[in-house]
């Protein structure tokens, strides 16, 4: 069972029952899940987690949907690799990469969608929906297939063919919207308000967003129930960024981290900060869509929306719902925010591929180039424990790195082969 007491508005603190709601009726502020942490503390333990499935559902006591029969395509429990080669290149001796690009539909979205789909079934929905430029559409369609639900995915009409096929193969009803980015947003918001569907980031959003906490839990568990000194995270809406922070703090408050005494959560569970959580939270966005970074750089508490114009389309959210909350986390954690120049996004993809054998999408390129900046600027010390989050797979954005294809073209003879080889890499037989 899920230990959820209800929902609460982040702005005015009004409380609501745990239903398919995302906005406060009074002030239109966002609603967040409220947990019964007293009961969770009696139940949860490291042993209970370790005995759970090798997916996000091993943390079911800390998720807002029942883990008894979840919609599970085995999202999560992805590798945390010691990145020796990349670390050597950047002068970081204690660098890890959380490789979330190997989730079942090839992005971290499987974590949030698994929770949203499970909750949607609990609520009795028959249809699950989303609006997406790629990763989310794939994940929603895949989970709907697993759950036997109908899925409706809205995509921009000019979306790349590869991404369209990656979602369409699971059999959703696909709606290609012909309009500007802002028009697509407004239409989908209106559809979400008018159809009895579980729209994952509208009426399911409070539950959906909680799935990202597992990115914090897993890293801590894989490090032996410790937290890193630094994390580097790519951001779009800012939700994942705030939830990783929340995940670290929940583990600390529940006494699950090594050598850390438990602490009460206080009235506002979503802003709890255990003093033992000293991880510095570093946000990276691509320069062509960096509303949160811009606000941080200008010292503003409000986020000014932008019109996205970035190669990193999976991060292209011009009006980020959790922007102001992400700014608070950066400040509270002593972290930073950095906008990666568009020209360096692909360099980040190639650097990770060439050093660690991991092919990430453009969002991962933003992470790696942001990490490089942090290392070079001295913000991260050489021996500090650092985790870089890689959230999507390079097969989704192959067009970004098409220039890497430059094979040796030879005639089917040894002499032709050896001549070409010597010309390219100076190797003689």
């Amino acid at each position: 069972m899920a230990f959820v007491s209800g929902l609460r508005c982040r702005e005015c603190s009004r409380e609501y029952p745990a239903e398919a709601l995302n906005v406060c009726d009074f002030c239109f502020g966002p609603l967040e899940v409220v947990y019964d942490y007293a009961t969770i503390a009696e139940v949860v333990s490291r042993d209970r987690i370790a005995a759970g499935p090798l997916s996000i559902w091993r943390y079911q006591d800390l998720l807002p949907a029942s883990g008894e029969d979840p919609v599970d395509i085995m999202a999560g429990y992805t590798p945390l690799l010691k990145a020796k080669n990349l670390g050597k290149r950047l002068g970081l001796n204690n660098l890890y990469v959380k490789n979330d690009s190997v989730n079942p539909s090839y992005s971290f979205k499987d974590r949030v969608v698994s929770v949203a789909a499970t909750k949607a079934l609990e609520f009795g929905f028959e249809t699950i929906a989303c609006a997406s430029t790629g990763n989310l559409a794939c994940s929603v369609a895949a989970h709907a297939a697993r759950a036997g639900m109908r899925s409706v995915v809205f995509i921009p009409s000019d979306l790349e063919r590869g991404k369209v096929i990656g979602a369409a193969v699971y059999g959703p009803t696909m709606v290609a919207v012909d309009g500007t980015y802002d028009e697509v947003n407004r239409l989908c918001s209106e559809v979400g308000d008018n159809y009895p569907w579980a729209f994952v980031n509208i009426n399911m959003r409070p539950y959906y967003a909680e799935g990202s906490k597992t990115l914090g839990y897993e890293v801590a568990e894989q490090l032996g129930w410790r937290i890193p000194d630094h994390v580097v995270i790519p951001s779009a809406s800012g939700a994942m960024f705030t939830k990783i922070w929340k995940g670290f703090n929940e583990l600390a408050c529940l006494g699950l981290l090594e050598g850390v005494p438990p602490l009460t959560f206080g009235a506002d569970q979503n802003t709890v900060h255990h003093p033992a959580i000293t991880t510095r939270m570093h946000m990276t966005q691509a320069e062509g869509c960096a509303p949160i970074v811009n606000a941080w750089a200008a010292g503003q508490s409000q986020v000014r929306p932008v019109r996205p114009d970035s190669i990193a389309k999976s991060l292209a959210i011009g009006n980020p719902a959790d922007g102001i909350y992400a700014l608070r986390v950066i400040k509270e954690s002593g972290g930073s925010a950095y906008a990666v120049p568009e020209s360096e996004v692909v360099a980040g993809i190639k650097l990770l591929a060439e050093t660690e054998g991991i092919f990430t999408e453009t969002a991962g390129g933003v992470t790696v180039s942001g990490l490089k900046h942090l290392a070079e600027s001295g913000a991260i010390g050489p021996d500090q424990l650092t985790v870089a989050y890689i959230t999507g797979n390079g097969l989704k954005t192959q067009e970004a790195v098409e220039d890497v294809v430059n094979p040796l073209t030879v005639k089917p003879t040894m002499s032709s082969f050896e001549e070409a080889l010597e010309g390219r890499v100076g190797i003689r037989s």
């Binding site: 906005v23 430029t133 980015y181 947003n185 009006n319």
Partner: protein
């Protein structure tokens, strides 16, 4: 009849314009402000609009044409 929740963001000189008053007057909409933060050079207002569906649509098109940004209340819906 229809009802829609939206967020307007005003920048620069637009902060001084009575956009919400004109929206109500010219498109026969009831405007109900729930949250706002207006400064000298930027401001936002979260509000609910009540009226004929076609008028809400026409009204929002007019607001956009003035340069005011119109967004869903809960931020961008389209995700990566």
């Amino acid at each position: 009849m229809g009802r829609q929740r939206v967020k307007f963001t005003f920048e620069g000189e637009l902060v001084k314009e009575p956009i919400i008053y004109m929206l109500g007057r010219d498109f026969h909409l009831v405007t109900n402000i729930r949250r706002a933060d207006v400064g000298e050079s930027i401001g936002w207002v979260v509000l609910e609009l009540d009226g004929e569906k076609e008028e809400i649509e026409r009204g929002l098109q007019w607001v956009s044409s003035t340069g005011v940004r119109v967004d869903p209340v809960s931020g961008d819906v389209v995700q990566g």
